[in-house]
């Protein structure tokens, strides 16, 4: 990998332990502007943890994480500022339960970017429209379906104009009929050139949308390839075995 200015996320020799358990092993990874990178792998392979270390929701025990060429600090104002550049969409949506949908989307632009309320709301409504839930703006999260909540979560991330969005298994908590409405939004984001790092079990999404697929197991990156090459011809036995288990159904 070259160190050009268009690299947005760069991980160098990242290691992490949960007690004795070595959950991330010498991870090297870089994501360029406009790229869609999909991380797949069996449960417990460390892919979610990897995703969460990037905006430091998880600490690391070794290595470096650079966002836009700058090292992610471990705390303080600077960390908050850098997190604002990295959007995150969670498996469990994590919409703020006591706020309306509109407030969920405007909270950070007002609090962090100091946008005037009117402006933030106007933009939020546009974003909600873009993900197709603008009619729900006045409700609270509990009144929405999972698919709708996750689309709001995407709008909320977009409202901060992040340079990259991390998706941590965005469809794993959804009922089957709602998975596609979320994947469709993600696909259209990718088409618009959003840089995305996606941890998922949706192989079709990886096949269709990813520029690059990363296969993880036991806390290490085992393979990194274009989706065509990876799905047609996985190099490692473990990736082969994994693909057989997930593509049977």
């Amino acid at each position: 990998m070259d160190h050009k200015a268009d690299v947005i996320i760069e991980l160098k020799q990242v290691n992490k332990f949960f007690g004795e358990h070595h959950v991330l092993k010498d991870i090297n990874l870089s994501v360029k502007k406009g790229e869609v990178v999909v991380i797949i792998g069996p449960s417990g392979s460390g892919k979610s943890t990897l995703c969460r270390t990037i905006n430091r929701l998880e600490t690391i025990d070794g290595g470096e994480i650079l966002i836009d060429g700058e090292e992610m600090p471990s705390e303080g104002k600077k960390l908050a500022e850098m997190r604002a550049k990295v959007g995150m969409v969670f498996q469990s949506f994590n919409l703020l339960a006591h706020r309306t949908i509109l407030d969920n989307v405007t909270l950070a632009p007002i609090d962090v970017l100091h946008k005037p309320k009117k402006e933030a709301q106007a933009e939020a409504m546009q974003l909600l429209k873009r993900v197709g839930v603008d009619s729900q703006a006045a409700k609270v999260p509990a009144q929405l379906s999972g698919g709708q909540q996750q689309r709001v979560a995407i709008a909320r991330a977009l409202a901060m104009h992040p340079e990259v969005i991390l998706f941590d298994e965005p469809t794993s908590a959804l009922d089957p009929e709602m998975i596609n409405e979320v994947l469709d939004v993600m696909t259209s984001l990718a088409k618009d050139g959003m840089t995305m790092l996606v941890v998922t079990h949706e192989m079709n999404f990886a096949r269709r949308v990813a520029n690059r697929v990363i296969f993880m197991e036991d806390g290490a990156i085992l393979e990194e390839n274009t989706p065509e090459a990876f799905f047609a011809n996985p190099k490692t036995e473990r990736a082969k075995a994994f693909l057989e288990t997930v593509t049977v159904h």
Partner: protein, 277 residues
Amino acid sequence: MNTSQTSIRDILYEPPGVKTKRMIQVFTVLSFIAVMLLIYVAVRQFYITGQLDARYWYFFAKPTTWIFLGEGLAGTLEAAVVAGFISFGLAFLMMLGRINNIRAFQAIARALIEFTRGVPTLLLVYFFFLVVPQYGITLAPLWRISLPVAISASGIVAEVLRSGINAVPNGQREAAMSLGMKESHTFLKVVFPQAFRYVIPSLIAELVIVVKDTTFAYVVNFPDLMQNAKVLISNYNAMLPVYLVVAVIYIIINYLLNKASVYAASRTDSTTNTAAS
């Protein structure tokens, strides 16, 4: 049976069968008879000892009696509200100390919580009444009662608030932080408002204790309901009637507070029951 609502009873116990239903009926009748008997015995005893005599009750027909008791009630509510606010402020600080990462703050907060929970309210009342003036600090009667009552409740309120903080799903915090919100803003704008909603019923329950603790006002000569009751008693030499009436007033206040907490609990439930978990 009410099907629209599931009570704790429905969750804990099987629906009663034929035999159990019979038993429930029998015990309902028996306990009703027992309660009636008790009331009869009590009233009869009052009658025998002359407590129902008109001379012990006539002054309740005078408006001035009720105005006087009303003033006492206002005093009680004033002391309770002031104590409630102070207690909440102290509790908030102790809670912050307790959830802080700094060990020293944790230790101090923990010690304060244990102290305030452990010391009897009356002891604190005496402290503010007898010891504090020794240092040349003279407090108005309202503060002499509100401060000790507030301090006495603050430790428990601090722990209630902390339990609320712990009940907020971690994802809420993570979501706010991942949007670039500072730790302090995340706490004040996202975590605490939710924690507060969770604990409103417990806070109201604590307010009931605060209301009851304000009865120590008689020690410091603050004109609360209890103090004014004592004045009535010495004027009319009618201890039992006055205490009975005052007890009923306290019961009504606290019943209303409990109603409010049940209402608050049901409201917070409906807005957060599926809180992104």
